[in-house]
Chain length 308, copies 2
């Protein structure tokens, strides 16, 4: 089957890289990225969207590939001065990155929607594929910890270094998706779930009003973010035992998405114990741009075969 | 007479340099600077205080001496990115300078007063003398132009390059001075008016409730910002004919302050036509740090002699 409209649900680093592979493999009009905004937060009066920024910078090929966040060749003069003032320095704000936050925040205050602003920023960065924030409304991911009560996501992840043990994830709201999200899913031949953290990157999207219902009618294929029992990046490997009571594995990811999935792409050797869903095994770790494109190509081919 | 408490009213560049000379000449506990905030404005959601920033950076010896604004060795990576996004780039925001604006804005939004924030920023920069914003309340300087209606000050000065012809200056409010301002004037042995623009840097301070009355009881000595008919920096030389109907001169400055003044320090050769006030002539252009300190020393000696 020829895939003419593909939607991909994505978090930050792994998601951005997979989207970049898809964008290189598909005509730009064929791909819509729906990006988690549950991590968004206000910091120093700036509205910061970590996943959207990582996706934008990655798709524009201006992101820092090694660090996984921010811009390549970034400078941190503002942070150094902020530190001299004794200001909060736990969240790193690069100098060029600040322009993104400043402009976005000013436009939000003027009453523009996050999706309209995202479209404009992407345009200025030369990004051809469509990038939609999952919602234009606030929807904060909250981490319920064992010992420190409820923390906002960035507070838990960055300020506290993901150390406080997790016992639950919830959201402070259940807003409607951004304009275009349900339409994009409705029009899609295929929905992909990027190799992002299911709990804090994909579940926020799935939890929006109407998204699960829209996806139920669509073939959905996920790429596992767990490789040989470990997360490529981030705190997922410790979250799976804490939240699902099982060891981290591709099978745990498949089980988490359950009946939503038609197929899953996993690292070669991670196929065991995955039941009730088609499995495709390959090299899933994206070290280079070529890796991203190959993984995207293989995932699309696997999905096309599933769809007959 | 020994001067134990000196208050200086100041705008930005010339004022900051004169304050720096005073700070080098007087014990730090002896000097209080009261700084114009009529130029303050919101830009990209940031609360920017051009005169306070210039004074702080100059007193901390981290200011850019050649440019007259911002920090020495400043970088402009955020501005470059802002330009790439098509954002507003008419007001230059340096990367380290952004930290000042971000922190100040965040603290104002939390309900802190501008004077408390200024005290903390000055402390972090190692500034020993007391720096007070003239008021903690909004008090915008508005420029009434001949052809373009009323413009806010930064809009007129920076965005429009001070080109629209001026027919009046007014303020959108007449708030009380910041806590400490009237007390500092009341306790002063001497009040100095720095070589700043009388219309847009000093008049905003004089216009605050109670300031003129407090000054009436004090010996006030000004330093002329006009040197041989020209302003050392800024649009003053064109404002004097437009607003006072006379050629720019030290005498026009003396006349502007009128009965407020006990004495005026002018450039050698600029003494003529100054009436009803003691005059001291010297080299007033502050090219080096040594110039600042010498001008401060001579001004203090002139004032001390006047006070007997």
């Amino acid at each position: 089957m020829k895939l003419e409209r593909v939607v991909a649900l994505s978090g930050g680093v792994g998601g951005g890289r997979f989207l970049d592979g898809l964008a290189r493999e598909l005509p730009s009009a064929a791909l819509t990225a729906i990006v988690n905004t549950g991590d968004d937060f206000e910091h120093l009066g700036l509205y910061v969207c970590p996943d959207l920024d990582t996706v934008m910078y990655t798709l524009a090929a201006v992101g820092d590939e090694l660090r996984g966040w921010g811009l390549a060749g970034e400078t941190f003069a503002a942070m150094a001065m902020l530190r001299q003032y004794g200001g909060p320095d736990w969240f790193h704000l690069g100098d060029r990155d600040l322009a993104t936050h400043l402009l976005r925040t000013a436009e939000l205050r003027r009453g523009e929607s996050l999706s309209a602003i995202t479209t404009r920023l992407c345009g200025a960065l030369g990004i051809a594929v469509r990038v939609l924030p999952m919602t234009d409304a606030p929807c904060r991911t909250l981490v319920e910890t064992v010992d420190e009560g409820t923390l906002t996501f960035q507070d838990w992840l960055v300020r506290r270094g993901a150390r406080p043990a997790v016992r639950g994830i919830r959201w402070d709201a259940r807003p409607p998706p951004a304009e275009g999200v349900l339409e994009a899913i409705g029009a899609a031949d295929l929905v992909l779930i990027a190799p992002s953290n299911p709990y804090v990157s994909i579940d926020p999207i799935l939890g929006l009003d109407g998204v699960r219902a829209a996806l139920a009618a669509k073939p959905v294929v996920a790429v596992s973010p767990i490789v040989h029992g470990r997360a490529v990046k981030g705190p997922l490997a410790t979250m799976i035992p804490a939240l699902a009571g099982v060891a981290p594995s591709a099978a745990a990811i498949a089980r988490h998405y359950g009946a939503l999935l038609r197929g899953i792409v996993v690292e070669r050797g991670d196929e065991r114990q995955i039941e009730g869903v088609a499995v495709y095994a390959t090299d899933t770790v994206m070290r280079s741009r070529a890796d991203r494109q190959r993984l995207a190509r293989e995932t699309l081919a696997f999905a096309a075969e599933l769809l007959g």
